[in-house]
Symmetry: C2
Subunit: 330 residues, 2 copies
């Protein structure tokens, strides 16, 4: 065909509003240009930025994410994954919290592209992207110890989640680095990463009547629960006890005191997960299941200060503009 004719055809096509039918294309190519995103609950403030990160890399490539919520229900998850596969998604990004997941592992073993966010499973068939939890806990412990704290309590997240487990282990190790003995009277376990569990845990800790001057909350929601209980019992933060969180959710800078916490780059987590998935989708041969840890930051705000009894004072007074300390992850 002469190029001039070609131009005229293209022109006519545009004028008549022709658009390719991706359905027909999919049928022929058995590619769908869509990927499945499986999360517990979009309403959890962690996930919107992750979703946007995913979308940000997928969109320019012509992929569209299909989002499903599982509400942490194992059965629902299986059903949703099946529905996604039926729609011929080319890969899956999974952000649910289960520690092991035979269904997903089987999928991955069959060569179906899957990447996990914010967790790792026991077997390492599945590639992962997450914030560097160990570095985050270290940042928090170092900071607190630097402020003069020695009795640092820990609100452990659910041990059925990878995040819960890894943060607890990091806490033990970090104490050890500072030659502080691990005292199990200072750690309390929670069932879920939610505010009420943070409150329950804090009450339990307080009721043990063992002294402590600082508290590392399992995440920001737990910290919210701490604040509730402190208000209940007339405990002042940071004067009586310092608190740090995890995640740096929106608006935790608006609390009183503003929450000192570990910032996790959720948007980047989403981007990286999407990139990784695309790489796997495009790969001819099997790609080894690498796992990437993104650097986290300590965001210093008002909820931690030197303990009343401390000699040296390095505390950040409430209301001071946030400073940031960074670690670069492995």
């Amino acid at each position: 065909m002469r190029s001039e004719t070609a131009a005229r055809v293209l022109d006519a096509a545009k004028r008549l509003g022709y658009v390719v039918n991706p359905i027909a294309r999919s049928l022929k190519t058995s590619r769908s240009s869509s990927i499945g995103v499986v999360i517990p609950d979009l309403t959890n403030a962690l996930f919107p930025p992750i979703m946007r990160g995913i979308d940000n890399v997928l969109e320019p490539l012509g992929y569209i994410p299909l989002l499903v919520n599982t509400d942490n229900d194992k059965e629902r998850e299986a059903k949703q994954v099946a529905a996604l596969r039926a729609r011929q998604v080319e890969g899956l990004i999974v952000g649910t919290a289960l520690l092991s997941d035979p269904g997903l592992e089987r999928l991955a073993a069959e060569g179906f592209p899957v990447v996990l966010i914010n967790r790792r499973t026991e077997s390492s068939i599945l590639p992962t992207v997450a914030g560097d939890n160990v570095a985050g806990v270290n940042l928090a412990v170092d900071y607190l110890v630097g402020l003069g704290h020695r009795r640092i309590a820990f609100l452990a997240g659910p041990q059925t989640t990878w995040t819960g487990q890894v943060r607890l282990r990091a806490y033990r190790n970090a104490l050890q680095d500072h030659k502080i003995a691990y005292d199990e009277a200072l750690v309390v376990f929670t069932e879920q990463f939610i505010e009420t569990e943070g409150a329950r845990g804090t009450r339990e800790l307080l009721d043990r009547n063992v002294p402590f001057t600082a508290l590392i909350a399992g995440n920001d929601l737990h910290a919210l629960g701490c604040f509730d209980v402190f208000a209940e019992r007339g405990i002042r933060c940071p004067e009586d006890v310092s608190v740090t969180g995890f995640n740096d959710m929106p608006f935790v800078d608006k609390l009183s005191p503003a929450l000192t916490t570990i910032h996790i780059p959720q948007y980047e987590v989403g981007r990286e997960a999407a990139r990784m998935l695309i790489e796997r989708i495009n790969a001819k041969a099997d790609v080894p299941a690498k796992s990437v840890l993104l650097p986290v930051e300590l965001v210093i705000r008002g909820s931690a200060a030197a303990p009343a009894s401390a000699d040296r004072n390095g505390g950040a007074p409430a209301g001071r503009p946030a400073r940031r300390a960074t670690t670069t992850a492995v």
Copy 2:
């Protein structure tokens, strides 16, 4: 075919792991079992609950929502809508803020199912679901007046948005109902529904040096901006000025003072929009474009109290558990 044979076939199918290919089905039926959801930004706390509401009604029907973010960019929106249509979505739920949208109106006029959330366009071709903004403003004004306020300022949202316009009009009317003269020195316009614009507006208002004892913020984010400026200038809330918000975003109950605001049932907005869309998709003939307003609630927390000068005192002291006042919408 004998039913026994049929059973054997079904059995074999299951054993072989047969699943229908929805792509092929779509190609044949030109139905996709998917609908498009167009929002400015998932990261805006308004939208996750709306999304879940949509998902909640769509999922049992076998529909899947395809979500796109426009970042309020007109061009991007057009592109995204085109992409969605190319994917053969059977309908569109649109939550962007533009006051008129010829593209969408054309679509709707052609009989393509579209429903708008949280806004209405000038022409009424498009069906809508939103919270009852007028009732919400009335609730706020009535409450403030009941507390003894007469000089009630208003942070008007962008007048390029339906929400911004309708709330301003409602404010004027509500004042009139209370025989309070409308004073344009007490209203300031903002460019966007974001915190910094709330701050800018509040500064502008304060700099006018006209006295006021209460301030109705355009939405919760604006209220956050107010609080920032109050902190800057040593103004106490609610002692010096009362503030109310709009939306009842997550965590505004954690602010100091906890924000008194109008609760909008976003989850229900999503559900209702999805129901409406499905109804239109299934309709043989044209369905008239009704618009439904969902009831809102005044959530009384700590950011509004009686003015210092007031005779009667009906103020809610900070920290008191929230009470709710409801209106049923039209």
